[in-house]
């Protein structure tokens, strides 16, 4: 693979950009692989990448029903943070965040990780306590966060309205090394690196069945024929239930639509990511200048990638109260993605009742930020056959035991 660099661009400019190689090879399936990963989204591609890079397993196929990176990887609001309360979450999200720091260099693909900082506003006394709790936990977990005063918030985000009539800003949890990245580039960068290691990325190929022998997975049937494998990783987010059905087990997952929207682009006015959980809205500004806004999820099962408009209304209202200047901006585009919500809203990584078949799903509304950590952990789990230390708490069995990893506790309930 030819490396990307400013020099390479200059060289190609002189020959009218005719010498660029394909970012990833176009592949047809072989008869068998050591490992098949179903799902060429961020999590699936990252799993394959770390299987190759950390564990030397390179006879790998990544099978994708549509086009790579076309699911939630390409339709989220690109926020990266690790200011989680529970030890298990903080560990894996912080691992992911720290991998993001060097991912452009690792992949030789600029994924534009921008640690511009993430602010989570506290707008009730109760929320202050919740974020204080996270701050204390994070310091002991090795995650850099700090609870800051309204005056500091205003300094970081001059366009914010602190004394909103309904929910004044009472402070915020500040993670200075949180931020954003270019979502498509994460998928493309991993795909290019996987392809370069000799792995096959097979797009437009839908899995129609999972075969097993004596309780051990043996391969998949696809729209491009049967493919055998020793180990199978299911990394397909909202469609996990369908694959689990094929493999003969059930998942604590429901698929719902989550929406997001962007404004027309304007010149830079907000350098950080701001999340306002009491009023349900969050906003950042993309490098193109669009205000990127995340909204709420529907409460009913849905596979249409379309959500209900009242969620958009609620989000926009909340954000106008928080940032009055956006009132005269315009919504350019709204869209939806299908998110996989588990029983405790935390992900599932680990083994399944079918031997040598592993699952990674349930990232819900927050999967993008976890991609490198999720892939790292899933790869280790698949390579060794046992959950690694990051995945240990996220196994399927926790629901049976009642061992929830519940992150909503910091938000808690009002008294």
């Amino acid at each position: 693979m030819k490396r990307y660099s400013a020099f390479a661009i200059a060289r190609e400019a002189l020959r009218h950009h005719t010498g660029w190689q394909r970012a990833w090879r176009s592949a047809q399936p072989k008869k068998a692989y050591d490992v098949i990963i179903v799902g060429a989204g961020g999590h699936g591609l990252a799993t394959a990448y770390y299987l190759g890079k950390n564990h030397g397993i390179r006879n790998v196929a990544i099978i994708e029903k549509g086009w790579l990176g076309g699911g939630n990887t390409g339709r989220n609001t690109t926020i990266i943070r690790s200011n989680y309360l529970q030890d298990e979450s903080a560990a894996i999200y912080e691992k992911a965040r720290s991998l993001y720091e060097t991912l452009s260099q690792d992949l030789n693909y600029n994924i534009m990780f921008s640690p511009r900082g993430v602010l989570m506003l506290a707008q009730t006394e109760h929320e202050i306590r919740g974020y204080r709790r996270t701050e204390h936990a994070n310091r002991l977990q090795g995650v850099e966060t700090r609870f800051i005063s309204p005056a500091e918030v205003k300094k970081i985000v001059p366009i914010i309205e602190l004394s909103g009539p309904r929910y004044p800003v009472l402070g915020a949890l500040w993670q200075p090394r949180g931020g954003t990245a270019r979502h498509d580039a994460v998928a493309w960068g991993y795909a290019r690196a996987c392809s370069d290691m000799g792995m096959d990325i097979i797009q437009q190929c839908e899995v129609t069945g999972i075969s097993q022998k004596n309780g051990v997975v043996s391969g998949v049937s696809t729209t491009k024929g049967d493919i055998a494998c020793n180990k199978l990783g299911l990394v397909v987010a909202g469609h996990s239930g369908v694959l689990a059905d094929m493999a003969g087990f059930r998942l604590p997952i429901e698929s719902v639509a989550l929406q997001a929207l962007v404004s027309e682009p304007i010149k830079p006015c907000m350098d950080v990511v701001v999340m306002a959980n009491t009023v349900h809205g969050y906003m950042s500004q993309s490098d193109k200048g669009e205000m990127v806004i995340g909204g709420g999820a529907d409460g009913f099962n849905n596979y249409t990638q379309r959500g209900s408009f009242h969620h958009i209304e609620e989000t926009v209202r909340a954000l106008i109260e928080t940032f009055p200047m956006i009132s005269r901006l315009k919504m350019l585009r709204q869209w939806g993605g299908i998110v996989d919500m588990t029983g405790d809203r935390s992900p599932i990584i680990g083994k399944t009742p079918l031997n040598n078949c592993f699952i990674n799903c349930g990232w819900g509304t927050g999967g993008f930020k976890a991609i490198p950590g999720s892939g790292w952990s899933m790869a280790a789990t698949m390579a060794t056959g046992e959950p690694d230390s990051l995945a240990a708490g996220f196994g399927l069995e926790r629901f049976r035991e009642g061992r929830f990893i519940d992150e909503s506790v910091a938000a808690g309930v009002a008294h």
């Binding site: 469609h239 239930g241 369908v242 059930r250 998942l251 604590p252 997952i253 429901e254 698929s255 529907d298 409460g299 009913f300 099962n301 849905n302 596979y303 249409t304 209900s308 408009f309 009242h310 029983g343 629901f399 049976r400």
Partner: protein, 108 residues
């Protein structure tokens, strides 16, 4: 933005008047349940691509819970019926079968 007909008050209720309540016809497993049954009761909700039976409450209306049969791929609503039943009405099942010949039928 769904519209569901409340089988109690007959109103075509807008989604904003309704609260979703997840899968319908789930059997409660109480104090003496086995581990398997209890886990399935709480967590193994059906999440089909296609026909789904689900619970809704007409929360900003008559306040009643009811059930709806809906396609999760197209959002088509096959019908709604009162919540006080253990299985979907036969006529509704027949209607769904006619519209979705591939449907495997209602399973408890």
């Amino acid at each position: 933005m769904l519209i569901l007909t409340c089988p109690y008050c007959g109103i075509d209720a807008d989604e904003t008047d309704l609260a979703p309540g997840g899968e319908a016809h789930v059997t409660r497993h109480g104090a003496d349940a086995s581990d398997d049954d209890f886990e399935a009761y709480l967590f193994h909700k059906r999440n089909p691509r296609g026909v789904h039976f689900e619970r809704w409450r007409h929360v900003y209306g008559c306040g009643k819970w009811f059930h709806a049969a809906r396609d999760t791929m197209t959002l088509e609503v096959f019908g709604t019926y009162p919540a006080q039943t253990l299985v979907p009405p036969k006529t509704l099942q027949t209607k769904i079968k006619k519209k979705r010949p591939d449907w495997k039928g209602f399973k408890k």
